[in-house]
Structures are given as C-alpha cells and as structure tokens.
Point group: C2
Chain length 412, copies 2
C-alpha cells in the first residue's frame, strides 16, 4: 500500500467538529487506497495554556518537566482523532511518541528526531489498520523521558514520518490555503504560489512567514519529501495548496518568489569599539553564550582605529544582549562608548532561487524602497535572499512596494 502522511495543525483540530472534518479528509485518502499516518497538533490554545502554567510555576523550569507537561495536548487529539475515524468505520489507533517510538536527542524543548523505527506501526498496517494517528511534537529521549521538538514541531514530526515510511506525499493541513508571495493581510495583491522550492521555503520560514517549522523544511529537503501546505477549511483537489519541492519541480521562472517581513526585530549598535582582530569574536561570543540570536551584522569602516558595530536580534532578547555585553565590558573583554538599542525597526526581505542567475535584484529592490522614501539601515544578502532593516512604520509600505516592483501578483 502507498503511504500518505497528513498533518493537522491546532486550528484544524480545535473542536470535535473540526476533528470530524479532518477525519473526513483522512477517510477520502483511505478510500483512495492509501495507508495513512495522521500527525496531530494539540487543540488550538491548549499548548499555550500549558506553557503558561509551566512558566508561572517555574520561570527557569526543568525542561524535562516542561516537556512532560506540554506534550499532553497532542495525546488528547490523537485519541479523539482515532475515535472519530473508528466511528466512521475506519480501523485506526492512536500512538503517543514513546509508543512508536519517536526516538529523539535529549535536548528537551528543542529535541531532534534521531530515528523512527517502522516496526510497530507497520505491524498494525499489516493487520488491517488503515490509519495510524500519531501525537505530533513529541518523542522519547535515550533516558526514557518525554521530549518535545519546539514550537511548530508537529510539522517536523510529519516530515520525519514521511521520510521514515517513504510516504508518497506529506500534506500539512493548516488555516491558510498555501504559501503566498507575501502576507495577504498587509498586501492585498498577494498571490498563492502553486509551488515553491525547499530553499525559498526555508528562507521564508526563517524570516517569519510562520507556515512551516524551519526544521521540517530542512528535513523535507534532505529526504526529498514531497511537502504540500493546504487549508483544512476549504475543499481542495490534487492541485490545491502549495507544493514545496525540489528546484527542478519549479516550472515558473522568476527571480523573486516572495516578500517576507518580521516585525520583532531590534537594532543594536556598539558605538566606538576598537577595530582590532578578534573584536567580532569578543562581541558575538558572549552574545551566543547568552542565547541571543544575532541575525544581521554590519561593521562600519574604521575611523582612527575605532568603529561602530551594529547587529539585529529579536526584540525580546534586547535585555539579555545588553546584559551579556555589559558583563563582557566589565570583564575588560570589550570596550565601547555607548550601546544603542532601537526597537522600532522591521526586517523586509525578498526571496527567490532565480536570484542566483539574475543580477540586478538588489538594485531593483533598493530603488523601489528609495522611490517610497524609505531609508535602509542595514543590509544582508544570501544566495537567494536580500534583507533590509528599516523603520518599522514603513514596513507595510515596503512590502507593498516590493510586491509591486517584482510584479508578484502576476503568474510568471
């Protein structure tokens, strides 16, 4: 039997009625001849509630207990989904992470899947079970403790099962009907993409387009899993949603596929640091140790042996960054005149695999922003992405201007 993986996110299983609707989709794929592995998230809001309880109980919580608590929401939906399928006459059973088992590392709260032995589930398929409903987001450590894969981890569970079972496709059902050229809420011309490459999806995910967990896209790329994102709130056929696939699968030829943005950025500037070898390590070492996710980095040209160092990080890590740098300064590892933090910035990025072979994308981007009078504060680029940090009040305007400039509303 060919195998299909279907993953339903929190909003798609938020009520018993929605679970029934999701189960009907599963039933259709069973009727199409598939053995189906269903991965479920917790009912929308449940995991947040559990996370809040843990944080309120113990601000610096033991991550093992955090995992034991927050993984429970998925167990509930897995059982309810199995029961719903059984009611429809479809042989199904639920599996918790440790029952499969989903073997992970011991990195509680952000564990990585190491292996998913097929034996237990395959035996049940051989006995006539048609659907294995697996609690997403969770696994078991070598020590026998429950682990979780980080927020959005059920996406990664789904892709890992698709890879382990050689599934024909991994369908991610969510509350949007696919991946868009940009966020439709801030740009009404946004257009759903039929296909997008793994590389582009990775950049979009890491840039804050919260459709898929980054790790799930990495896994799909590595194991060549055909990944589809589609809505659980609409009827959809074979071609619905957005297929995330290899570059070869992309028939459209465009330089830019999408415009992403992130509101939660802060720009920090160390004024007048010594411009000497090792200064970058002296600054960013302590930040890394403190768990600050530094994103963009810019170093001004040197002036009399002093320079300004600017970097961006998530806005909720500013206090942590200030603390880490202050301590490094006290230890005499770095010296600076002043530490400036600007929390009114946003990051806007254009992403596209076509950039690799098309020159002039950056120039076109900068011109589009200049035409709107938007000043660029920091720039970074990768092979398939150009990001700029700008004043947050221009963020929506920038997204719209770039969407227009690259004519993303048109099918290429």
């Amino acid at each position: 039997m060919p195998t299909l993986v279907m993953k339903f996110g929190g909003t798609s299983v938020a009520t018993l009625d929605r679970i029934r609707r999701a189960a009907k989709r599963v039933g259709r794929e069973v009727a199409n001849g598939y053995d189906v592995i269903v991965i479920v998230s917790a009912m929308a809001g449940k995991t947040n509630e559990l996370v809040e309880w843990v944080s309120e109980t113990s601000p610096l919580f033991d991550a093992r207990e955090y995992d034991a608590v927050v993984s429970s929401g998925e167990n509930v939906t897995a059982g309810l989904m199995a029961l719903t399928l059984q009611e429809m006459g479809i042989p199904a059973r639920s599996w918790q992470g440790w029952q499969v088992p989903v073997l992970t590392t011991s990195a509680h709260g952000a564990a990585r899947i190491v292996d998913i032995p097929r034996k237990n589930i395959e035996e049940k398929f051989a006995e006539g079970m048609k659907v294995a409903v697996v609690a997403g987001f969770q696994g078991i450590s070598p020590e026998g403790r429950i682990t979780t894969l980080g927020r959005g981890g059920s996406d990664t569970t789904a892709v890992a099962f698709a890879a382990a079972f050689g599934a024909e496709r991994c369908d991610i059902y969510t509350d949007v009907d696919g991946v868009y050229t940009t966020d439709p809420r801030i740009c009404e011309k946004a257009r759903k993409l039929d296909r997008i490459s793994f590389e582009e999806m990775l950049e979009l995910a890491s840039l804050g387009a919260k459709v898929l967990q980054t790790r799930s896209v990495e896994l799909a790329m590595r194991y060549k899993v055909k990944l589809r994102v589609l809505s659980s709130f609409e009827d959809n056929d074979e071609s619905a949603g957005t297929l995330v696939c290899d570059e070869e699968g992309i028939v459209e030829s465009r330089t830019v596929s999408g415009v992403a943005y992130s509101r939660d950025e802060a720009k920090m500037t160390l004024v007048s640091v010594a411009d000497r070898p090792g200064i970058a390590a002296a600054i960013f070492g302590p930040l890394a140790d403190a768990g600050v996710n530094v994103d963009m980095i810019v170093q001004n040209v040197s002036d009399h042996g002093r320079t300004d160092m600017t970097f961006s990080c998530p806005v909720d890590q500013v206090a942590r960054a200030e603390h880490a740098l202050g301590e490094a300064r006290e230890r005499g590892e770095i010296g600076y005149e002043e530490l400036l933090a600007d929390t009114h910035v946003a990051k806007v990025s254009v992403v596209g695999i076509g950039m690799r072979s098309h020159a002039g994308v950056a120039a076109q981007m900068f011109k589009a922003l200049a035409d709107e009078g938007i000043n660029i504060q920091v720039i970074t680029t990768s092979e398939i992405k150009i990001s700029v940090l700008i004043d947050r009040k221009y963020m929506e305007l920038a997204v719209q201007a770039l969407h227009d400039a690259f004519e993303l509303e048109k099918v290429a």
Copy 2:
C-alpha cells in the same frame, strides 16, 4: 529512608496556587526525613471534560482510546507538581504510569494494577531525588497501551504504591477533612471519625460515601497499608483526618460507626413468577450478562406456586434491566405477569464492626424508622451492615433519625 505516599485529589490540585499549597505539605514531610511518593489526580474538572469529549466523539468508544485521552490530565499535574517542588529546592521528578511502569491488566477503563516494579524510582531515590511525583489513575497494559483504573482510581494508585514501597503511611488529601458518621450536608450532628476499620470503610465506600475508591480500600486491607484521609484545605497535624486501619487499631467500642445513604436506587418487582428451582438464576443471569448491578434481592413467600421477586439496582440501569428481562421472557426462560419499576426509592444503611458482637442493632434501627413513620420496603444485611430501601422523600429524615438513635454524635 522511610517512605511516605501522599495523594492529592482533583480539588487539591485544581489551580497552580493549590498545587503550591500541596507541595508545601510534601516539603514538610521531606523535612521530616521521608522519601515521598506523591500521587496526583488531574485538575478538578479536567477528566470530566475529556470524558465528555470522548463520549461525544464516539458513544460506544474504543476503551483503549478512551484511556489514552482521559489519562492526559494527570500527566499535566504530575509535571507541574514536580516543577513546583523543584522551585522550592526539593529534588523531584514526574513519572507517567508507563515510565514507572505501573503494570496493569488490559481491562481498559477499569484496569487492575498487577505489579509496580520499584527499580526505576528507587534508583532515583538512591541518587538523591526526594520526591517521585506519579500521575495517578493510569498504567500500562501488557500490550503497551495506556490503561486507566476507573473513576477515583488515583486512590488505588496511591495505596498500590504504598504497598509496593512498604510506605509508613498513605495519606489521601481531599476536600473533606475525614470520614464522617454520616454526610454532614444532610445531618448537622455528623461527627468526624478519628479511626475506622477497613471493613467499615469498604461498606461505606460501596454504599456511596464517595471518599475513597472501593478498590483502594480492598488493597489497603489486603496489604495492611495505613491509610489516612485528610483535608488539603486545613492545617493538620499527626492526628488529623481519619485513619483507616485494621480492626485491632479501633479503640472506640461502638456497634454502629456510620450511616450511609444512596439516592440513585431503583426498586424493580417481577410480579407472579413461577416459584421453582432455578428461577433466581434464570432472572439474575440475564441481568448480570447485561451489566446490571443488582444490589438487594427479596423473594416473597410462595402462593400457589407463584411468587413476586423484588430487587434493587442503580436508577440509570432500569432501562437496561427491563430490556434484559423482556428478552429472557421472549426466549421463554422466565414468565411474569408484570414488571414494576419504582425509581423513587433510596437506600439507607447503618455500618459498624461492633454489630458482629452486638445483637439488637436491626431491631433498634427498625424501631427508629417506625417511630418516624417510615415504611421499610426491602431489607438486606451483612455481617457489619444493615440496609433498607425506603421512599426517597424520607431519606434525610431516616439518616437523621438513625444518627440520633445510635448516638453517633457522641464520642464512644
């Protein structure tokens, strides 16, 4: 180190604040030098919510999936309790049923504990852990599926752990401060008992005094576990609550210890059945097969080879009983003129180990009821209990009259 088992019911862990209060009690026992095994229920209301979801999803649910779903509430409180203890500086960790493991039968929804290997938890105690927080109510079947022990099952988990670990005592923290001579809500003279025998507690539990799960009392009796019921909402010292113990531990010498009642009774009468050998089996066999819990049985004296057969059962099983008897009649196994169901009855019972050696308790009981003009419809007796079925509207009056008659408000 001596070991103590402390069990906290749903109302005792209903909020984070109550979990903290419970944890403080645990902390005190750790300070007293105990290794503590804490058994927790789900937060009050959580299990009911899960049960409702399951029933709504699948009225004739797969009990294996029911167990997978409804066991999740205990996992949450176990983790939160462990975190709370850690915050207080007490080395603690949570254990889910399968992690201990709590080995049970495969009777999903009403599984029995078969064994609790001590190895895993003892290893952690040896490493310095002071508190093992165990999710109550759940275990693992030989097939590796999650099982539950039936409503109130966390009491049984607690007693089973106390037996397995040779605990000095098993303290059941609940929302009442002990076992009373009768329900204080309907008899204001009700008095808390300092001690009660296992046998009496068993009768009270099975008669509807919902303080402890019946099975937990049976287990405590068999393994001689010192069981104490006390309030988690009051400060209490060594002598607080009610100790459930061996008959030898009872110093009070009274014939009757308590008055119990049950509102949810129905009286059914088969009018004019043939009075022949095997008739009782022909009637009660089909009822047992249909899962009807027949309680009291009375057979009238025979009149011309016909008799009336009366029995009581829970009021919500009347329809099932009627159906089972109707079918037996159609199959020709029994014959009767009429089947009467009276759903306006209640059962009132007096319980006391002293009855064994004191005659006249029944006479005293019947006189007290007669003095109030209460008609007795059915009577049954055991060694330490006399129960009567009466019109439900006299139930409270009967309880008060019996409480007075046996002077239960006085310390013996």
